[in-house]
């Protein structure tokens, strides 16, 4: 076998290797129970989120997002990956609702009239809405809202 044939065989092995490795190494966005916006683990099932909120006595942060939403990407990149924001989010049960595919979140979407992304709501474990953020806000504002919401909701 000449060198070009060897190279071609190596090439196909590399293609198979790259294909297999990269597919399994890709970050998971959504599995059966969670989505992973901004690298955080968000509940997708409202009842699970509110059960957890009641048992842990934490408020619920509801995040309405969409795959095509560029402001959501900014939230994911600038806010949710920030340590201070993550510390503030520890006080919350996180619930993410994809407004294009809300599933059992449909009721919440209707209740909050969340027709466009991104939007956030802070809710008590009992389901009362105490804070509302429509659209994109800077990190400071989000932090202030999270602090205020956690006081109001508990």
């Amino acid at each position: 076998m000449n060198a070009r044939k060897t190279l071609t065989v190596v090439f196909f092995l590399v293609v198979l290797g790259v294909g297999h490795y990269s597919m399994n190494a890709a970050p998971v966005v959504r599995d059966d129970t969670h989505t992973y916006q901004g690298g955080l683990e968000w509940e997708t099932e409202p009842s699970t989120a509110f059960d957890a909120a009641q048992s842990q006595d934490k408020p619920v942060l509801v995040y309405y997002w969409a795959t095509w939403c560029t402001y959501c990407e900014r939230y994911d990149k600038n806010h949710y990956r920030n340590e201070t924001v993550r510390a503030a989010l520890d006080e919350y049960v996180l619930l993410a609702v994809n407004i294009d595919d809300p599933g059992n979140g449909t009721g919440l979407v209707r209740q909050h009239q969340a027709t466009y992304p991104p939007q956030h709501r802070i809710m008590t474990p009992e389901g009362e809405t105490v804070e509302s953020v429509e659209g994109y806000i800077e990190r400071d504002e989000l932090l202030a809202t999270l602090e205020k919401g956690s006081e109001e909701a508990t």
């Binding site: 060198a3 890709a26 599995d31 466009y116 994109y136 806000i137 800077e138």
Partner: protein, 784 residues
Amino acid sequence: MTAVVLGLAVGTWLLAIGLFGSVLATVLLGYEYATGDQSFLRVSKAAASAAAGSLVIALLYLTSQFLSEDYMNAYVWDNTANYLPTLYKVTGVYASNAGSVLLWAMLTAVVVTTTLLLDRYSARGARLSQSLGMGVVTVFAWMLVNESPFTPLSTRYPSVAANGIPQDGSGLNPLLVDPFMAIHPPITFSAYALMVVPFTVGVTHFVARLQGTQSVFDDWLGSMTRWLRGSWLLLTAAITLGGIWAYRVLGWGGFWSWDPVETSVLIPWLGLTAVLHTLNQYRRSGRYAVLAPAATAALLPLVIYATTVVRSGVFRSVHSFAGGGIGSGVLFLLGTTSTLAVGPAFVHWFRTEQSDTEAAGLLDRATIYHAAVLGFILLAFVSLWGLTFPVVRSLASGVEVSVDARYYNLWSFPVVVGMLLAGGMYAQQERFSTRVTVGTAAAVLVAALAVGVALARPEWQLASTEPFDPAYYRAIGSLSVVTVLPPAVYFAGAWVVRYVGRLRRLTGRRAKLNETGIALIHVGAALLIVSVSFVYVFSTTASVGIVGATELDDTGERIVRDVEGSPYTVEVTNYSPENTPTITAAAMTPAEAGAVDTASSVILVKGEVTAVQRFEETTIAQLNGSRVWVGADSGTVQFEEGSVIVARGSLSDPRSENIDALVYTNGDNVGPVSAPPTNAYTPRVVEHQYDVQLYRGDTLVADGTVAEQSYRGRDMQTNDPLIKRGITGDTYVVGTRTAGGLSIEISRYPLANQIWFGVAVMLVGMGLVFLFDPASGAAGGRRD
């Protein structure tokens, strides 16, 4: 007017003629190939010409409907509006699926018919090739007849049509209202259309090989090479225009974000570049006897795959312009063209004895060239797989995974570095011994790895990685971007040295210009690769919220904010919203209002009050002395003779001798043109403009306007950034409205303009090769 004949719009009949002509031509040409009987040749030429002609007329007809605002046609109504200037009326033609398929079909039919009418290609194999080409046109025409861009409004949207002919269209996707987007689709589809004949010739080649007959591939090689180079020029230009558009118009702060649309068009580009390399070798040495024609044939399926990605909605894209599925037609085309491209080639390869017996060592030029060709294919695979595997994995396991820029960048980077080394070695070997070449390349590789590790400061690394990331990402991501510099310099240098050497030996202006072109393409590519890598890694972004920005006017008040995490200070001095169209531009003249035949619709009208009549309950005012009057409950509105007013109200026919139409309004919906009523009208577009000054310390860096446009009835915004260009890079300011006011984002893109320069150099180079390569064109068959 959209005329309807026997239940079908005239335009759809044109498409049906196109379908009939292309079916007939496909069948007859296939028959001629199978039997060798030429007696139907004139009929098949006529049929193909009729198909091409009717598609050309259909496209012109559709364009004329856009220009004349023919809203009886649902597609026109869907994709344009009165306020748009002529250029963007034309753009509307290919703003959605049906129109773009028509454009593509038309170009394809014209190209295939041209090869049929030019009797240069009259060998028997040419008939099969032309039959396949007309077959592709047939599928397009069939799709068009099924989903016609001429469907009347009353068929597509009966509820809209029930109120009579609409006065205005529903509008054009705001993203497409841009001069770059006006020329981007025709260029892209022209590039695609030029790939049809190479596809059919590639398939025919293997069919001929399997039947043991004479192939036309070698005869057509010269002209095909030229067509593919033309296609490469157009495709490169199209991708660049798209990049400039994304950078300058969308204000998303990037010319390339590995969006599926961008990635998908890169795949045929990489494939085309690989094909041009294989054809070049095949023409000179006969190597790639299987790969060159097979890869040539595979380009069309790649293009169709790219279109499926852009249009189908299967793949997530932040800019899926044409919503809705394109349907089974494209999937059918994808299936058949892929099978035809791969099937016969594979069978031929499987059945033939090993013909390629030439021995080649690992470090021979032929082997190194082969490595570079495989590099292009590997890059194309990385892009293709990145689009594909999320779908595969989601279907297989239900788990949704994301593909980010890191996937594409980190898998492509080592391949590009390897290709730069291989390309440099290939050029160097022309004048130096293998020993010296291998030594140089090894030294460059060591240098690259040394700076890659030594200069791996966090902000210079290819990607920020976390300890839990996969090992490959951590390893490659932790390299410094500077790794790419030594191979790129080596590559560019080797091609320049090769060029200088060749220039001395070559005689003849054409040959020298051709050589210049080849050198420019490679040097431009090196420049492009370095600048893209550096921009990607060294770009920085910081943002600041500016509460109260919308309250500013031009009284001299200003808001000054330091931008945290950056050396910049931002001043916002003025906010001014601008409506398009303005209420006065949107209002009808009395003559236009008089022509509206629908009673009880609400319209906006403007004119000078020329007479006023007061009744007990109603006051009415005549506009411009016409038979159109405006009325209101007495005492609610003061009409004054001589004043020019704008009014919104419901239209009725009072059945009076002197009045054809009465627009009944109220105090909130009428006012003078100088101060029109504010709530009477929602404009199509509101442009929110902010005057911004950007300081770095005390130095004014940028001064100008940032703007965000919002659109009636659409959940979307576009942004006009403020870009301060410079040799070292661009400073890029975007303002977006937020819940609290305004958010200003400032980015630095070092070497941004070197990207455009690199592309320009490549385009000039390919232009020279396209024009002056002595071996291309109809005379340039393969030399044995």
